[in-house]
């Protein structure tokens, strides 16, 4: 569980197991909901109220985001990594060719992504501070802001000072998944490298908050540990972040493990039904929060979840450095993708269900 919580994991799990249908209905009828309501809505019995959850979530989604969906695309600038995350193909033990793109190569990628009609970029990199000093990142951010209105980063943790430098250079959002909130499992899955330090990882996102970054993206990797316990931690983490960084918004992502080349298997797989229940619960309890859904999920699931939960979706993702400018995907990717539709196709499919895709929803001027 997230440290510093008053409740133990056992207490939380016992509570969730004891939730009744009436408690779920009570949570759904309320106007203002809290942590306990989230526990009610992720409970096994809440499945019986899934239809009602869907319509309440959809109403909130519409109220806060209207009938629009924001598009973003990830740009992998490096697959070099000194960590050994068991579930990731960038794992140092995976002896495939690695590379860090040069600034010129990154610009070529940016141009290719921009040509797809995308205006929001997520910069992704493995952890390799040697090939990516802060000065280089700063330069990349400044350069990317020439092309994209909105820029997020999903890179290795930095100091508050490091985040501040990137924020000043133009970073709007920071995504940093805890992977698992279970400390014991976390240490098993991250046997070596700087990422091994569980508490430092927890703390990193608040350093981003201190630096003033507008969007703080959190999540856990679905499939590592019991999703209900993890959801309780995620919700508590979000509440804590909101209270301490009132000028930043919390963004939830729900990355579900997809196969990796090293053959790592999900330890506690999460089904599509469970993923939907989890997202609905978060939408209902955090009605105004940002929620993303990546191309790890199928086209069908993504289109459905846009109607009730997700306001931000990725499009045409390539998970290899250099994957956009160079159409031949020969390098090591981070994981497998399920939705490979073109941006144009995504736009058409979403239009058919009554949603407008929005590329530009931010401005460089701000």
């Amino acid at each position: 569980m997230l440290p510093y919580l008053k409740k133990t994991e056992e207490q939380v799990n016992t509570y969730i197991a004891g939730v009744t249908v009436d408690m779920v209905k009570g949570s759904l009828r309320k106007e203002h909901r809290d942590f306990q309501d989230l526990l009610n809505l992720i409970s096994p019995v809440a499945k019986q109220a899934i239809g009602e959850m869907r319509s309440i979530a959809a109403a909130y989604r519409k109220m806060h985001f209207g009938k629009t969906v924001r598009l973003y695309t990830p740009l992998y600038i490096s697959n070099k990594c000194i960590n050994s995350c068991a579930y990731c193909d960038f794992n140092i033990k995976n002896k495939s060719e690695r590379k860090t793109l040069t600034l010129e190569e990154i610009i070529a990628e940016a141009k290719a992504i921009k040509a797809l009609g995308i205006d929001s970029l997520l910069l992704v990199a493995g952890e390799d501070p040697k090939s990516m000093p802060i000065e280089f990142l700063e330069q990349v951010v400044k350069e990317m802001k020439k092309y994209f209105s909105y820029l997020s980063i999903e890179i290795f943790p930095l100091s508050t000072e490091g985040y501040k430098r990137l924020f000043d250079a133009g970073v709007d959002g920071l995504t940093l998944y805890q992977e698992t909130y279970n400390q014991k499992l976390y240490e098993e899955l991250h046997p070596s490298g700087p990422k091994r330090d569980y508490l430092s990882r927890i703390d990193a996102i608040s350093r981003g908050g201190k630096a003033g970054i507008r969007t703080l993206g959190i999540g856990f990797l679905l499939g590592l540990y019991d999703w209900r316990t993890e959801s309780a931690s995620l919700a508590a983490h979000a509440i804590w972040l909101r209270k301490h960084f009132w000028k930043s918004k919390v963004q939830f992502s729900f990355p579900r493990l997809t196969p990796v080349s090293t053959g790592f298997q999900a330890l506690q797989p999460v089904s599509e039904e469970e993923l939907e229940q989890m997202m609905l619960a978060f939408r209902i309890v955090f009605p105004e929060s940002d929620m993303t859904i990546s191309t790890r999920e199928s086209a069908e699931f993504r289109d459905n979840i846009v109607m009730s939960c997700a306001g931000n979706i990725s499009a045409e993702s390539k998970v290899t450095p250099g994957g956009y400018a160079d159409s031949e995907d020969k390098d090591v990717g981070q994981f497998m993708l399920n939705d490979t539709r073109s941006t144009k196709q995504i736009k058409e499919d979403l239009k058919a269900i009554g949603f407008e895709t929005v590329s530009k929803y931010w401005d460089k001027v701000i």
């Binding site: 109220m63 209207g66 009938k67 000028k247 009554g354 949603f355 929803y361 931010w362 401005d363």
Partner: protein, 256 residues
């Protein structure tokens, strides 16, 4: 009712619209037409000067509708001023000043708003600040020369109606500049209530954009605002706590 004039522009319609959250540009365009609005607000964050295909401005008929950019996204005065300057460079001198650092309820920051308003007025902008329903702040803004005040009825996008009614009453009573109730208006009846309360206009977005039929809802709002206006012009009989017969006794007394 006194004609509605902001800066030097007179408005026949007291219904202003926001342009976010629509399912398509066509839907927005048709709703704007149905609402008969003459003033809409557009977030600079949604304006794309480089990509005409994605540009929200191209769907607005500027011969009928005035555009005021808004500073949504700004967390402080400095950012808001930057947005306003950028908008003016692109030809928009009207600015809806909204500074909401809190992303949860999007409540406006009174201190930064006052700071920015003072500077923007000096720079020659037509400034319409979005504020909490705070009567003292409304007067402070009037003192620095803003052109309207836009107090909220309820948190933006919440469709809760005039939750701040008691404070709105005081703002309206004290104001020498137009008062536009902005945010929280969820139903045509809320808009009518705001006009009946004495507001000069209302600004509506989510209630129309997120409706199942935005065009029909836009029409409904237009009619509600018109009917409230007509009601005021008609001179309503005063309300009383006791019942009074529609054919009072003394009428009959006169007959005999």
């Amino acid at each position: 009712m006194k004609a509605l004039k902001i800066a030097d522009t007179e408005f026949k319609s007291r219904l202003f619209l926001g342009t976010g959250k629509f399912s398509s540009r066509e839907a927005m365009k048709n709703a704007l037409i149905a609402s008969e609005t003459e003033l809409v607000t557009v977030a600079l964050t949604r304006v794309d000067f480089d990509n005409k295909e994605d540009d929200i401005l191209s769907a607005i008929d500027t011969s009928k509708v005035k555009i005021m950019l808004n500073t949504s996204g700004a967390r402080d005065a400095e950012e808001a001023i930057r947005i306003a300057e950028f908008g003016r460079a692109a030809g928009n001198n009207w600015i809806k000043l909204e500074i909401h650092p809190d992303p949860t309820y999007l409540l406006p920051d009174p201190i930064e708003t006052l700071k920015a308003a003072e500077i923007l007025v000096k720079k020659g902008f037509i400034v319409l600040p979005y504020i909490n329903a705070d009567p003292v702040l409304a007067k402070r803004l009037e003192d620095v020369g803003v052109h309207t005040v836009m107090p909220l009825g309820a948190p933006i996008g919440s469709n809760q109606g005039l939750q701040t009614e008691a404070m709105l009453r005081i703002i309206i009573e004290q104001s020498n500049i137009p008062v536009i109730v902005d945010a929280g208006i969820g139903l045509p009846s809320h808009a009518a209530a705001a006009i009946e309360l004495g507001a000069d206009a209302v600004l509506v977005n989510t209630a129309i954009a997120a409706a199942d039929d935005p065009v029909l809802m836009a029409k409904a709002f237009a009619m509600a605002v018109r009917s409230a206006e007509m009601g005021i012009q008609a001179g309503p009989a005063s309300a009383s706590l006791t019942a009074s017969s529609t054919s009072p006794q003394n009428t009959f007394n006169d007959l005999f």
